[in-house]
Symmetry: C2
Subunit: 375 residues, 2 copies
């Protein structure tokens, strides 16, 4: 099947770029001698997961129990569910463990630890747990030097669960740009996790796992001493936000949305395409970066960036393509029916709008891979 | 099943509110003596569609051919696909017609009309077509007074399709607020469509259908003379954007996302919930309104708005709940495991993140309705 036979809008995955992105991350992590536990929340796809885990232990990270169910069924046993556990999810998590999964949970407070331990005692199950550490003030987690909270969590867990270690996500790195700033974020992440692990060990608690990760920090870390594993996801596709940070080039982005020109706004010098926010997502991640790419950066049907054309605004199924500098396009050069490929701001968000990847090599669709969503 | 038995995050649909919203729109449209052609792009659900079409002719509007396929299979025959047709979708559209659907297509330029007529001649099918009119400079469409383009489209279509009328969407009304401004937008929409219909009729072209619509204009229109049908979708659920325009009250919003508190940011006085942008969507529609509701407005588990708590920021599966005024919450009042219901900025976008509605009456889940996505 050729690209010209695909009904638009459609999510395209450039397999050669994906493979190169995976090889780059594999080398970056291997150089530190630590494990890789790929995050599957970006791809949610068995075929992509196989490519991401090849050559590694098969340990994976997920953001939903649905992902845990799906990937356990696909043969992955060592699964970290990396979102603080809510009490109403414990029954489902226990069912996964009963089926044979080695499912590790995450939490960052004594209340949740108490609820987990109580559930564990009642059901005769000791969940392994990583304590989430807040290494950069970005989101969730215990501050690395908050020994009182770390030990309170440890005490609660001792009543009915197992501390397996600590984890942190250097999400603040998404606001950094350039090698030095990214390396500094990586060190913040490493130091925070290692320090918290030290607090636990000093108190006699076991802490075999020290887990860190974000795509920018993993690629730019200079030292990962004390870390045992790295969790990364978006590297498999990359996106405009990552390109804006200097983490990848636009030419590395493996994901795009194929769209058709369906009309013109001749008086404004703009094009209308059949990829709106339903196909691109509402993610405007580049809005806070140096160069705002609207709802996506426009390429020709071979995937080459065309000047600075962007999807400037979006309705549900309509995108308006305009020059990034606001000037008018000569719309006569863009006939109705022309195919465009649009690079996404945020691969996780754009992929989530679609049920399948059309895997492309050149202008040939070589495979169709299903992806899932939901919880 | 009680709400407390539902795993979070989950999309809730308050059936009593939905029914009241439908009754309100039905009355608003009936008072003008015109037809209602509900837009199904918001709900994408057979049960919701049945409630929206009850008492009307069964004519519907869709935004994708997937919707057309699904609703034709569910028994709806008179279907308007209201996005400018791309050439690569014509084969699928023809298959629907061959199956017995009365599928009307939309376009706004002579190029697309020529492609459609050529396809029609080749395949022996005359698609009925509405010409899209740009009544408010918002998106796509021919300007109502651009007789040259309207007639050029009519001439092209005559070679292999049928002009059935005109349609317009007063999307500019989403930027208006208050009764008078909304009524003015409704008049802009009506006048544009009627004027374009007059151009066609004056040239001897038939124009039986004059189709207008957006939820704000339909509810606030004072006169719909010359209009034959109204297309509306988001009214069935309403959302914070509509409430911000004064089109509904927050208490009318039938859709919410059930979330659990999974942790605290005690030093910031903020809560962490398990509804991030994957559950809420990345839509920030209230950001440009007078009151910005972040990624959603927080209610208690019975659906009552709690002061001005909003989802201030969102990661994929994490939401950070904070006071709208930026002040700290007393997090001790919000234990881990507490259920919250979060009202969405934009019902179309939030619903699209979910595969099913949990239909609730009070704290009872009385039904589960599937919804679909994709193209």
């Amino acid at each position: 099947m050729r690209l010209s036979d695909v009904e638009t809008p459609a999510l395209l995955l450039d397999r050669a770029r994906m493979r190169a992105n995976i090889a780059r991350m594999n080398a970056a992590v291997a150089r530190h001698g630590v494990g890789l536990r790929p995050h599957l929340k970006t791809a949610k796809c068995a075929e992509v997961t196989r490519a991401m885990t090849e050559g590694w232990s098969g340990a994976v990270t997920v953001s939903t129990l649905r992902e845990a169910d799906e990937f356990f069924a696909a043969g992955y046993r060592d699964i970290l569910y990396a979102v603080g556990i809510a009490p109403n999810k414990l029954g489902r998590a226990a069912a996964l463990v009963a089926s044979g999964a080695d499912l590790t949970l995450v939490l960052d407070n004594a209340e949740a630890a108490r609820a987990l331990a109580a559930f564990g005692r009642e059901r005769g199950i000791r969940f392994p747990v990583l304590i989430e550490i807040d290494s950069d003030g970005h989101r969730a987690g215990v501050r690395p030097d908050d020994a009182a909270t770390l030990l309170a969590i440890g005490r609660e867990l001792a009543e009915g669960a197992t501390v397996r270690g600590v984890m942190t996500h250097g999400g603040g790195s998404y606001g950094a740009a350039g090698d030095a700033a990214l390396a500094a974020h990586a060190e913040l992440e490493r130091a925070g996790a290692v320090r918290a692990a030290g607090v636990l060990r000093d108190a006699g608690l076991p802490c075999p796992i020290v887990s860190v990760g974000s795509t920018p920090t993993a690629l730019f870390a200079r030292d990962l001493s004390g870390v045992t594993e790295v969790r990364v996801g978006v590297y498999v596709f990359f996106d405009l936000v990552m390109a804006g940070l200097g983490v990848c080039r636009e030419d590395d982005i493996a994901l795009s949305v194929l769209a058709s020109i369906i009309g013109h706004r001749a008086d404004c010098g703009q094009l209308i395409v059949d990829a709106g926010w339903m196909a691109m997502s509402r993610d405007r991640g580049t809005a806070s970066q140096r160069v705002d790419r609207g709802y996506g950066l426009v390429c020709d049907d071979e995937g080459r960036v065309i000047g600075d054309l962007v999807v400037a605004s979006a309705n549900q199924e309509h995108g308006i393509v305009a020059r990034g500098d606001g000037g008018p396009l000569d719309v006569r050069r863009w006939p109705v029916g022309t195919l465009l490929r649009i690079l996404p701001n945020h691969a996780c968000a754009t992929a989530a709008q679609h049920g399948r990847y059309r895997v492309v090599e050149g202008d040939e669709v070589v495979a169709e891979w299903q992806r899932f969503g939901g919880w």
